[in-house]
Structure formats: structure tokens, C-alpha cells
Amino acid sequence: MLDAVPPFRARTGAQDDERVIKLAVLAVGGQGGGVLADWITDVAERSGYIAQSTSVAGVAQRTGATIYYVEMARNTGRLPVFALSPSQGDVDILIAAELMEAGRAIIRGFVTPDRTTLIASSHRIAAVSEKIEPGDGRASSSKVNATAEAASKRFIAFDMEKIAADNGSMISASLLGALAGSDALPFARESYEQAIGAGGRGVKASLAAFGAAFDRARGTAAPGPEPAEPAIVESASGAGRVNGPQNLLHGWQTLAARIDLMPLPVRDMALRGLRKVVDYQDIAYGRDYLDRLDKAVALDGADHSHALSIAAAKHLANALCYDDMIRVADLKTRSTRDRRVRKEVGVKDGSVLQVTEYFHPRIQEFCGTLPAGLGSYIENRPKLAAFLDRRINHGRHIRTDSFAGFAALWFIGGLRRWRRRLLRHKVETAHLERWYALALSHVPHDYALAVEILNCRRLIKGYSDTHVRAQSKFDRVLSALDLVKGRADAADWIRRLREAALKDEKGDMLDGALKTVASLSDHSVGGGGGRP
């Protein structure tokens, strides 16, 4: 790659005020990058400059990555020759309307430390590839931020999407504000505001978003408060607000007092777990939770930073609070849920909210909600189960703002008090016992492996077929246990298998990883624990 001469040391010794300013905008289709490019062109022309903007329209505008490019030079009465697309190492200002687009700009070479002012909105719009992973497939923002600092002359980044939304405008307005506030262009604030005003639509909101972003970029407005670090829970019995009848509160205090006896690092997770479990079922269920957790705490010590206890506190709570019809119905009929929906949807006074829920129960869910004996009786008779399934297995759209719809769910939620006798509970409890005992059995000889077995609980999620698939992934990961146990890196292998299982829907990556594990033990006869 050939390096260019530092900018504008042109043949005729062009004066600095004749130089061309190059500005590129990288955006996601639908973000209004075209509006921004038009504004910038307008600002330049208002300020005695000649400007040229170009874009690539077409299908890229359908939610794909798009690019807009503006060149401008002081009007000296002669027409400059402008380029129609940005070149690597030859961009003065790069505006990224989303953080990963800033990363893309850096990769493409449009950001260089000798000259580029990089203005980026720090918010994320997850790409489809990031969203479809069964686990957390989101790209690392910190990596982009770190590279952006190093790759640019100046890096201005804050959440311009939020500033726009807070002011009822679009991100193009706050991006323009950040550009103006950065002083990277030799134009006065008034020119920008005039350009916005000339647009004629949503001017007031755009100006407000422009102003807020201008101040942020100038550094005259303080950044929003950073999210506070969670406080370390010293005493569980006093933390958080709990309401309810006196006898239940008394029971809660007794349970919470047990958490105060646990090692300090465990308390936060244990308290969260306890709240979740009690909220899910009752005080007695909370007692069960703590009894089980105590087993892990007893085997644990400070030398491992209580990793086992913390993992147990987290995953026991999740395992105990399995997702059944009762839980769903209970959560959907709470007054807190009603308030949250109203807030999210933004229901104003005087408007009426109607809420439709989408259910699709199958015979499995139905049997799970029957007493264990009756449920198994049906499940063991395929013809009967199929007959019933034909009657049950339909999509149901239930209006929870209507009395009948609400009452039906309220009734199902009320089955909570009989939950312990139901088939699903029996199945889930047996599964939990096996998993927990398996994990704890490894503590004496491989502490890290025990923690990883506990963490595999993360794999179990979803409803119906998704849940079945999740169970299968869980079983497949743990099937490798016999192959890796005894190896020094056994825990690491289980972690890798779990992460592979979260990469795709069917577990193709997991199967590949399992093959690797199988070949490991083939080659390591005599090393480690060998094959079962």
C-alpha cells in the first residue's frame, strides 16, 4: 500500500484555506443518514463553501450498513474536483451513527490517527447475526471503543440515540449537534441551526436534540450518571422492601437471617435467589432453597472465592423456578405487570389499553399441570394423550384486559398452592436433584469442574420444543463428563462445550466440539481418567 503525502501539499502549493474537507457518515439503513448529509451540505453552502454529497442508495437502505460522503472546500470562485467516495487514510471527519459502524469505518481504513475526528454514537443496534444466537452473541463494544481511541485523532462518543429519543427527535439531529460541538468543521453554530430550520419538519425537537448533543460534545454538559455498582449486601434481613401479611413477613425474616450467616461474597446472589424462589412459590420453597444451598456452602471455602456457592445460589434458584403454565399465568396477572406494560407502551391518560396474550398449550403442558398420578397416567397412554392433544393443542389469544381472559389466567396462577403435587414439579425436582448431586460429587477432587457443572444449568431454557432442545443440549454437554473427568482441564472443556451449545439452535457447534472431546480421550489413553 502506498502512502499518500500529508494532505494538500498540492503541486501549486495550495493554501490551507483551499483544502478539501472530507467527511463520511456510516449508518444503518433507516437511521436518516441522508438527512444528515443534506444538512451538512446545507451548512457548508451557507458558510461560503462549495459542497458535494453522494450516497449509495438501493437495497442497502433496507436495514443494511450504508455510507454517505460529503466533500467541501471554501468557495474561491473556482470549482474544485471532488471525489465521490471516501478513501482509506483520507477522511477528516467520520460520523458513525452506531458503534459497530465506527468499528467498520476503522476496519475500512477511514479512520486514521493523524487526522480523523471520529464522532460515534455509543449505542448498539444488534445485527441479525448477533441476535439469533441462543446465548449472548453480541459483539464487544469495549474492543471497538479501545481501538477507536487509538485509531483516531479525536474520538467523541456518547449515546446520541438516547439524546435524540429524550428530545423526541431522530439521531440525525443529535449527530449533527455532536459534529457542530466538536468544532471539527469551521462553521458557526447558527449555520447548523438554520439548516435544521430550513428542513421545516420537527424543527423544535431537532433543535433540542442538536443543542443537547452540541453541549455534550463540547464537554459543557455532564455525561449522564454512570450506573452505580451494586452494593455489597451486608445484611439480607434488612435489604430490599418486602410487603405482605405479618405471618409471612415473619417467615421471610427467619429465612433472610440465614443468609446473614453465609460468607459475605455469597449473600448478594443468595438473597436474589431467595427472593425469586419465594416470589415464585412460598416461604417453604425458600426454606428448601436455602437447605440445598447450605450443602454447597458447607463444601466451599474462601480459597476459591466461594465460586461454588455463588453458582449454586444462582442456578438453584433458576432450577427451582422452572417455567410452567402457573408461573406464566401468575406473572401475567400481577398489578406490577400491568403497570410495566402501560409504561412501555406509553399509554397516556384518556387512552384505553387492550392486551392480547399468545398461548399455545400442548398435552405436555396440560399433563404437567395435573396431579402427578393423573398426569403420568395420561402420558403413559399415547392414544389418550393424542386424543386430548387434538383438543388442547391450539393457539389461544387471550385478552387479559377483559374479565373472562384475566380470570382464566388468574385461576391458573392460583394453582400455585398445589404446585408441589403436580407432575411437572415431580419431573423438575428429580432433574434438579440429579444435577445438583452430580455437581457436588465432584467438589472433593475437582472443584472447578463442579462449578462448571452447576453453570450448565444456563442451557435449560425456553418452552415446549425449545425446552426439549435445551434439555438435550444440557444432556449432551454432561455426556462428556465421563470423557474429561480426571483431566486437569476438565472444567475448561465443560465450559467450552457449554459455550458451543449456546452458539446455534440445533447444537451443531456442540456436536463438533463433542467430537473433539471424544478424540482427545482416544489419544490420551493412560493420561487422565481414561474412558468409562
Binding site: R11, S140, G240, D323, V352, L353
Partner: protein, 717 residues
């Protein structure tokens, strides 16, 4: 009606002599057509010239005042065939389309038009969809110009130059009796700039005048013996006339020094990039002044031997900057030098890549390398021996972090549920061979759907599955075609072909009421009324007319369950012959553009309006994202919960949701999870609404209070 309205911009088309025009390249071309006294214009939309069609459609009043006829042609072939009006009559006509795909379709008409030749100027404006932002195969329009012997202009990418190219093009066409293609690249179409306008001209002869006084000339019709004479006429009369015109009118331009040991020849469209490279090498100033001799081909076909040879006079080496391959221009110049016995070395693809777009860096590298090898004395010291290497920032890691962001279905797109249903039916019945077509629906090939094996051209989806028709087959093929492709040529090439050949496959016609991918232009089956076009012709009637017996119509694609049922029936029925499913719902982008202002006004005006939006109960969502794998909607994303008990982000729907219904329907059809809800907000509720609401809320909160008073409730920590 198109996605973008140019109602305001078209007023610029009225500018008179001496006034300054400011705007997009496409609009400038339109203005230039009117200044040239064009009599009729036709074309087919497609990036990068969609806006040209949209501008013309919005400018019907102005065109009417001038007596100019405008057509939104059925296809590029139609648009080019329309230029037949310039064969016998001295009327200037223009056609426009996306190239090379449009030129492919047009080539039958183009070859016939070129053979007989024209009397009135015939201009074909092709939007060269090449390089970054292109959505098609990477080929060159140049080959079409050569094979049919029509002239090809490739002007410098600035407004005055492209406006002049339109004027030159008509004149060139008339003096050489040959259609002329004017090539404009993607960014040139969308470039914002200025030029000084001239008055619009009423065509000296309108199409109405021609109809009143019909003419014919057997010698211009493509049938032997005339066709043999046409070929001779092309080389004996038309070619020399074109060469003479181009040379005499100095269509091609020379810049830089008159003498020098090296020079650069380029397509006009490459001029700005060449200057930028020279600027960066310290050899040109802001205004393009340079000492390096430049020969700019605003006409790239035919080439002018004398001009080129005199440019090479006294030069050791000349670089040809010609984007794309094959390198026809370079080959032609090499032959000229060779035949003239000249010693000048001709280079091109040695320094510049054979394939791919000539970006800024490619130009800098290529021209820099050429000059270092052939004329190092021109270069400043820093360029000859640069001190620093690279910029020291390692971006290798970043490549693995930054996700790709290909285009996809819009928020609330009615095509999404069609492919969700197809994905579900494949989970049920196994994988099938799926043939795709051109249009928004081609996004199905990308995640999360990953459906579709091939795309063979506009309206050719079902045609491309026609081989998969075997009595031994246990599975049927599935093919898709959009409503745009259906009317473009799918009706005959795909549906008619399937009926005639007794194809047993399943054909899904995706009907979203517009030619949506090109910007929402109206087509025959559009549901809205159109002042100047005839719409509301149902696809189902056309399909029946072609002889299809098994036909199902789904009038709400968001009903995923129904879509799934119909697909299942089509794939399993015993009935023979093509199984055609017409899946209809309006393009959401256009629907929102149409409805949103109406809804907002209705709410402001106090009318009762129900606005839907979807949401996710975050404590019910388990973070598996199965719903996203059946959607990919931009408004359905993931978010982290402030809860250490939860490892994976949960699904979340943002404010951009338009409440299309896909989320709920998919959750139901795929039996996913109950975490979705639809919230309908009734604005300006009636008295009955309010009464019902208060009664319901009273009873519901009674139940809620009853339960919540008997359990522990935790305020959020």
C-alpha cells in the same frame, strides 16, 4: 405511489435559462432531457436510476404542459422497444434502466433498434450498478454497446458534464442514426451539485403529430435483405459519422501538460478519482490543475484513433484507467498502437486490478506505482521514498468483532411471515429445493431464514425451478417470485411455462402491492388508485387466465399458521400441475408512509383510533431467541437485564414496532413461548370503551388485590 416523493424537487424542472439548478444528478438528467426537447420518455425502475422514474412520475404536469409522453414501462425491453418511435420520426426519445440487468432484458429490442437505426435522437440512460452498493452481478454495459454498435457515453461525474452529455448524446444519435447509451454510475446518480439551466424546449414534433402523419420505410425494418444492408451501413456510414462528431465537438477532453513522457487515459466516470489520486500524490491541486497529461474519454465507444495516437505522441508510457473487465478499451488502444507501429508502452491492468471497483486506495496505489516506475522524477520525495509504513493501528482483531450488516426485511415487512412459515414447514416436512427471485424477498437467503438456492433473474424464480419436475421425485420444488417480477415477465416465463410443461412444483407469488425493492412504484396489481396508470388488476385473475388450476390466495400474510397450512397442502396434495400461492399484504414501508400521517391526524382530531404494538414480558422470556430466528425484525432485538441471576439477554421490542403481528403469530405457530403480548392502545376511546374499561379494571384489580394481599411482594431491589 413511490416511496419517495419528489413533488417539491420537480419544481426545479421549470427553471429557465441562466438560473442555477441545485440538486441530485438524477434530477439534473431529467432537466437536461426537457432542455433537449425530448418527445417521450420510458423506463423501468431500479437502483441507481429509480429516482429518475420517480421524478418523471411526479413531474407529469410539467411533461404534459410540454407535450412530452411518459411511460412507466412494463420492463426494460418495453422501454427500449418504445424507442421505435424515433425510427421513422424526428422525435427525440429516452429510455432509462438499471444496468447490466436491465440491458440484458432490453437487449432484444436494443439489437433490433440498433440494426435499423434511428432518425430522431434515441438516448438510453443506464444506471451502472457496479461496485460498492451494487445489488447485481458485476458486469459491464460496454459489451452491449460493442455488440450492437450503439455509442456509449461515460461523462465526468459532475452535473454540468452529465447535462452536456445528454445534449451531446441526442445530437450524436441524430448525426449517426444510431441509439446512444449514456452511462451514469451509482454515486454520480446521487451526487449533489449545481449547473446553469436552459429553457425547456417543446418537442418540434410530438408523438401526437406523428400519429397524425404516419410514415414507414421498409429499409429500416430488420428483415433480409435490409438487415444485411444495416450491418454494412453501421460500419460504412454510421461509425464514421459518430467518430467525426465526437472529434469535431471535442466530446473527449484533454487536461494537464501538452507534453510529458507519460500520460493517463481514463473513462470519464473515473476522472474525479484519478484527480484525487494525483492530488494525494502531490501532482494536482484542489481544482484538478495538473502537469500530468490526461485524456478523458467522455465517449468510450467508439474510440477515436487519431485523438489517442496524437495523445501518445512523444510519450514513453500511457496508463489506461478502465474499471471492470474485460478491458475492452485497453485492448483496443493496444491494437491501435501496434497497427500504427508506435513505440509507446501501453499499460493498464498491470498496475490496476483486473476485477473490482477502482476505489480511492486502488487508484492511489495503481497510479502511484505507474508513476514511480515510469516517471519517478515527477513525484515529490516523500512519495518516492515514504518514511512511515502503515498507521500503526492493528485492526485485525476488530474484523472478528464487528458483525456484518447485510440488508434485510424492514420493520413489519409482510414477507417475513411468509418465510417464517416456510422455515417452519421445512422443519416439519424436511428440506426442499427453493428457487428465489429478484426483489426484497431475496433477503430470505440471509439469516435468520437462510432459504433459497439460486436467483436467475427478474420474474424467473419459478422458471429456474423448471428442471426439477420429475415423476420419480418424492418432494416438490418451491419457488418464489415477487409481484414486480411477476408482471415484468414472470407471468409468461414462469407461470405460463409451468402450466404448459405440467410442472408439479409449488410457486409462491409474493404480492406486496408495489414494486417494493426499487422504491415502491405502482404496478398493475397495486391496490391504490393512480391518476395516470391503470391499477387494481388482481394477480389471481392473471394466474387463472394462464391456466393454473390449483390456486390459493392468502390475503393476510401475517397469519403464519394459515400460510403454513397452505404450504403444507401445496406440497402434499395429489393434484398435478403447478400449485400457485398468492400471498398478499401491503409493503409495510409504503403502508406506514401512507397511513402514519392519517393516523396521527385522526388522533389529533379526536377520532377513535386503535394503535397496536408488541411487547415482551422480560421475566417470562428465557433468552433463547427462537423468536428472533423466525423474524430478524429490526424492532425485535435483545437486551440485558439488570439481574445477576440471568446470564443471557432477553428479547425486547423497541418503539419502532408497528404491531404487524408476526411476533405473536410466530410464537403461536411455532409453539415458542408465551412472553409476547400485543398492546392495543385505543386513542380517543368512546364512552362505551371507557365504561367497559373502568368496569373491567375494577373487577381485575379486585382479584389482583386479593391475591397480592395474601403473599409476599418484593419491591424491585
Amino acid at each position: 405511489m413511490a416511496e419517495r416523493s419528489f413533488a417539491r424537487e420537480v419544481e426545479k424542472l421549470r427553471l429557465g435559462a441562466g438560473e442555477e439548478f441545485a440538486g441530485e444528478g438524477i434530477l439534473a438528467i431529467t432537466k437536461a432531457l426537457l432542455q433537449c426537447g425530448v418527445g417521450y420518455v420510458g423506463g423501468y425502475q431500479g437502483a441507481p436510476i429509480s429516482h429518475l422514474m420517480d421524478v418523471l412520475a411526479d413531474a407529469q404536469d410539467i411533461l404534459g404542459e410540454l407535450g412530452v409522453h411518459f411511460e412507466a414501462s412494463a420492463s426494460e425491453a418495453t422501454a427500449t422497444a418504445m424507442l421505435a418511435a424515433s425510427v421513422h420520426y424526428p422525435i427525440r426519445g429516452a429510455a432509462t434502466f438499471k444496468s447490466t440487468v436491465g440491458t440484458n432484458v432490453a437487449s432484444d429490442a436494443l439489437a433490433n433498434l440498433a440494426s435499423g437505426g434511428v432518425t430522431g435522437g434515441a438516448l438510453i440512460i443506464v444506471g451502472e450498478d457496479y461496485g460498492e452498493g451494487s445489488s447485481i452481478m458485476q458486469e459491464r454495459s460496454h459489451a452491449f454497446a460493442m455488440k450492437s454498435q450503439v455509442w456509449l457515453l461515460d461523462p465526468r461525474p459532475n452535473l454540468p458534464s452529465i447535462v452536456k452529455a445528454v445534449e451531446d448524446g441526442f445530437e450524436l444519435s441524430e448525426v449517426s442514426n444510431t441509439p446512444v447509451m449514456l452511462q451514469v454510475r451509482i454515486r454520480c446518480c446521487h451526487v449533489h451539485g449545481h449547473f446553469i439551466a436552459k429553457d425547456n424546449k417543446r418537442p418540434p414534433m410530438t408523438v401526437a403529430d406523428a400519429l397524425d402523419a404516419p410514415r414507414r420505410d421498409t429499409g429500416r425494418i430488420v428483415l433480409p435483405p435490409a438487415s444485411f444492408l444495416h450491418e454494412k451501413e453501421k460500419v460504412q456510414k454510421r461509425w464514421p459519422a459518430a467518430v467525426d462528431f465526437i472529434a469535431r465537438n471535442k466530446i473527449n477532453e484533454f487536461f494537464g501538460s501538452d507534453h510529458g513522457s507519460v500520460g493517463i487515459v481514463m473513462q470519464g466516470g473515473m476522472y474525479n478519482s484519478v484527480i484525487r489520486a494525483l492530488q494525494r500524490l502531490g501532482l494536482a491541486d484542489t481544482y484538478g490543475e495538473t502537469d500530468v497529461p490526461l485524456y478523458v474519454l467522455n465517449a468510450v465507444y467508439p474510440l477515436i484513433d487519431d485523438e489517442f495516437l496524437s495523445f501518445c505522441e512523444g510519450k514513453q508510457a500511457v496508463l489506461v484507467v478502465e474499471e471492470g473487465q474485460p478491458n475492452y478499451i485497453e485492448q483496443a488502444f493496444a491494437a491501435m498502437l501496434h497497427k500504427a507501429g508506435r513505440g509507446t508502452r501501453l499499460v493498464g491492468k498491470e498496475y490496476l486490478p483486473m476485477a473490482g471497483e477502482y476505489t480511492g486506495q486502488v487508484m492511489l496505489d495503481g497510479i502511484g506505482a505507474f508513476l514511480r516506475a515510469e516517471a519517478p522524477h515527477l513525484l515529490p520525495g516523500e512519495v518516492r521514498a515514504p518514511n512511515k509504513v502503515g498507521d500503526g493501528v492493528d485492526t485485525a482483531d476488530l474484523i472478528n468483532v464487528v458483525p456484518g450488516r447485510p440488508p434485510g426485511f424492514c420493520i413489519g415487512c409482510p414477507e417475513r411471515p411468509i418465510f417464517a412459515a416456510t422455515k417452519l414447514i421445512e422443519q416439519e416436512l424436511g428440506k426442499h429445493h427453493i428457487a428465489s427471485d429478484i426483489g426484497c424477498h431475496l433477503f430470505s437467503i440471509m439469516p435468520p431464514f437462510e432459504l433459497g438456492a439460486t436467483t436467475m433473474g427478474y420474474g424467473l424464480g419459478p422458471a429456474s425451478a423448471s428442471a426439477f419436475n420429475s415423476p420419480d421425485a418424492k418432494r416438490r420444488s418451491i419457488s418464489f417470485v415477487g409481484d414486480g417480477g411477476f408482471w415484468h415477465n414472470g407471468l409468461t416465463s414462469s407461470i405460463g411455462n409451468a402450466v404448459f410443461n405440467k410442472n408439479d412444483g409449488v410457486i409462491v407469488i409474493v404480492d406486496n402491492f408495489y414494486s417494493a425493492a426499487t422504491g415502491g412504484q405502482d404496478i398493475l396489481s397495486s391496490r391504490a388508485g393512480n391518476k395516470t396508470k391503470s391499477t387494481k388488476h388482481p394477480i389471481t385473475e392473471a394466474v387463472k387466465g394462464m391456466g393454473v388450476k390449483w390456486l390459493r390466495h392468502i390475503d393476510r400474510t401475517y397469519d403464519v399458521g394459515k400460510m403454513q397450512d397452505v404450504l403444507r397442502e401445496a406440497l402434499t396434495t395429489d393434484e398435478k400441475g403447478p400449485k400457485v400461492i398468492v400471498a398478499s399484504s401491503e409493503c409495510m414501508l409504503n403502508r406506514q408512509r401512507r397511513e402514519k400521517p392519517l393516523v396521527d391526524n385522526a388522533i389529533k382530531g379526536g377520532e377513535r383510533v386503535v394503535k397496536p404494538k408488541f411487547g415482551v414480558d422480560e421475566d417470562i422470556c428465557t433468552g433463547d431467541h427462537a423468536c428472533i430466528r423466525l423474524s430478524g425484525c429490526p424492532s425485535l432485538s435483545v437486551k440485558s437485564l439488570d439481574d445477576p441471576l440471568r446470564d443471557d439477554p432477553v428479547a425486547s421490542i423497541d418503539q419502532s414496532c408497528v404491531g404487524c403481528g408476526n411476533c405473536g403469530e410466530v410464537a403461536d405457530a411455532a409453539v415458542l413461548c408465551p412472553s409476547f403480548y400485543r398492546a392495543d392502545v385505543v386513542h380517543n376511546p368512546s364512552r362505551w370503551d371507557r365504561f367497559l374499561e373502568s368496569a373491567r379494571r375494577a373487577t381485575i384489580s379486585l382479584l389482583q388485590r386479593r391475591r397480592e394481599s395474601r403473599r409476599l411482594t418484593f419491591a424491585d431491589a
